[in-house]
Subunit: 328 residues, 2 copies
């Protein structure tokens, strides 16, 4: 292994920047947000065995590492601009680096998001990406879609379908068997999540709040309820599911869709009189959006846990913890 | 251990932001650089056993993790603004977190740099910080001090003293014995580096190029020579050394000062007619600056390795590799 740190960066990651003032090769990168905009910043760390399996195709891993960060920009309605990559590798493995950089940079190009800097070092496999997007400045605060804007009476929506990534994980864990085509489909959901960037942009000025579903619908909805000081009712039979999911036992469907995690769909709210605008945003972005509930008043000091109901409005019992890195 | 991911963030890291539009708790943080400025961004990952010893005091580790990033801003002449922290921890150890956050946030406060977001996860100890600074926009490119601006005839300077961190490492490695007071002094250089932020700001418009010394003076000077397309002569007897270093054998002095690494001093160049302005910048920042050489023309296709000379101008032989994470 003769590939050094600087060769590695030059060969796999260093490309001319077109939007940033200065890319790799200096102490800092220089980024100039477009006048009238401010910067949305997010940062996610992915660790082998916890966020991805050691057997994952490096190209898919490169895709996913950036996708989970772009998903945070999408949830704020921010336009992707640039990202940094810090990468710890046990060794400079060229097969890994070739695939990883290909998957990473293909998704970056597809979203107009350029790599402007980072760090590489030797250590247990760890991928840390910080992503930068821009949102227009607004006189009264930011135009980013925040978690804090949900209001009683708003509808609750989710994009795409829920739970397939968790279904794939159950197959990997050996607790479930799927036929080849079904497994390929749910594995793709787990390994190649599609960040809903176009939908996030289309929802700016329409959605009252948004979050991306990374820890499971219920856990992420709780974050919105906490920040907004509201409650919610979720109609479990309205949750959008894939055909593969619909073929599973009901208890597994509920587990995966409500508490599955790793979905990277947008969970958002909008005033009920904006239903047509929400539908138009989904159509413009080419993503299904489904109404799954509504925001309610929250009684003082009550638990922000959403109420689950069936199609008749009767309570549905469900208990599965949301993901916590230090408790699961 | 009952401390969960969100409690951990709330208890140790979540503080109200004063400069950023939005801090922790949403999908993204929102940062609005001051009008007329652009953003300098840097990112460093620190790994146990490679960048720090497992026995290090958590408070010093917190300081150092941010210091190495602020040092990159300093080398660009950028004013610190904010940072994100991604932290992988084997377990949520409150003693570690208390000390780590105290050291981290004390240095942040001292530099007006606020924590706006990040990620915590369970895994081998890994600290990844991205730091954001601002530099005034200039009509012709950036006002950041880059590695590419050194010109033949410029003087080469370095701040502070060189090599003490390496001396401490040699003690930890068992290859050297120092008395208690000397060890404390060099250990402090290794564990509590002082990022030269004020000096970097004072050098904007004065220095023609700058870099921070993280991999060793020679290796880092090579980066400047490569980016600037020039050569350099370094007077080894002019290198600024601490009293502890001066008491060491000459060969050890040379190794530590030229190829030691982990110094986090600024290595910079300035036109020879700006010597008074350089001295004034050092005085204003309260940091010693020492002239250690000059920039020369570079013959086409020649190795950008700096020439080393003694006080008489005679060549000095030195061979020690610069640090490479995948080669050492």
């Amino acid at each position: 292994m003769s590939l050094g740190e600087f060769d590695l960066i030059a060969r796999y990651f260093d490309r001319p920047v077109r939007r940033a003032r200065l890319g790799m090769g200096d102490d800092c990168a220089i980024l100039a947000p477009r006048p009238g905009t401010e910067l949305a910043i997010s940062c996610d760390m992915l660790i082998e065995g916890r966020h991805f399996l050691s057997t994952v195709d490096p190209e898919r891993l490169g895709h996913k590492a950036l996708a989970v960060n772009l998903s945070d920009l999408a949830a704020c309605g921010a336009e992707p601009l640039a990202f940094t990559l810090a990468l710890a590798l046990p060794r400079a493995d060229e097969t890994f680096l070739g695939g990883f950089s290909r998957g990473l940079l293909a998704l970056a190009d597809a979203n107009g998001c350029e790599l402007i800097g980072g760090d590489t070092t030797c250590g247990p496999l760890n991928i840390c990406i910080s992503v930068f997007g821009q949102v227009p400045v607004r006189a009264a605060g930011t135009s980013a879609i925040l978690r804090s804007g949900a209001r009683p009476g708003d509808d609750v929506y989710v994009s795409g379908t829920l739970g397939d990534a968790r279904l794939a994980l159950e197959v990997f864990r050996g607790s479930l068997l799927l036929d080849g085509a079904s497994f390929d489909a749910v594995r793709k959901a787990m390994e190649l999540p599609q960040p809903r960037v176009a939908l996030g942009l289309a929802l700016r000025g329409v959605a009252s709040s948004a979050i991306d579903v990374s820890d499971g619908l219920l856990g992420d909805l709780r974050h919105v309820l906490q920040r907004s000081g509201v409650g919610a009712v979720v109609e479990v039979e309205a949750l959008p599911l894939s055909d593969v999911m619909r073929a599973q036992p009901l208890s597994l469907q509920r587990l995966c869709a409500l508490s599955g995690g790793d979905d990277y769909e947008l969970l958002f709210t909008a005033p009920s009189d904006r239903a047509a605008a929400v539908a138009a945003a989904g159509a413009a972005a080419g993503v299904a959006v489904t109404r799954v509930g509504r925001i309610t008043e929250r009684l003082e000091n009550s638990d922000p846990q959403p109420q689950l109901v069936d199609a008749l409005g009767l309570p549905v019992w469900h208990q599965a913890p949301s993901f916590d890195h230090f408790k699961t």
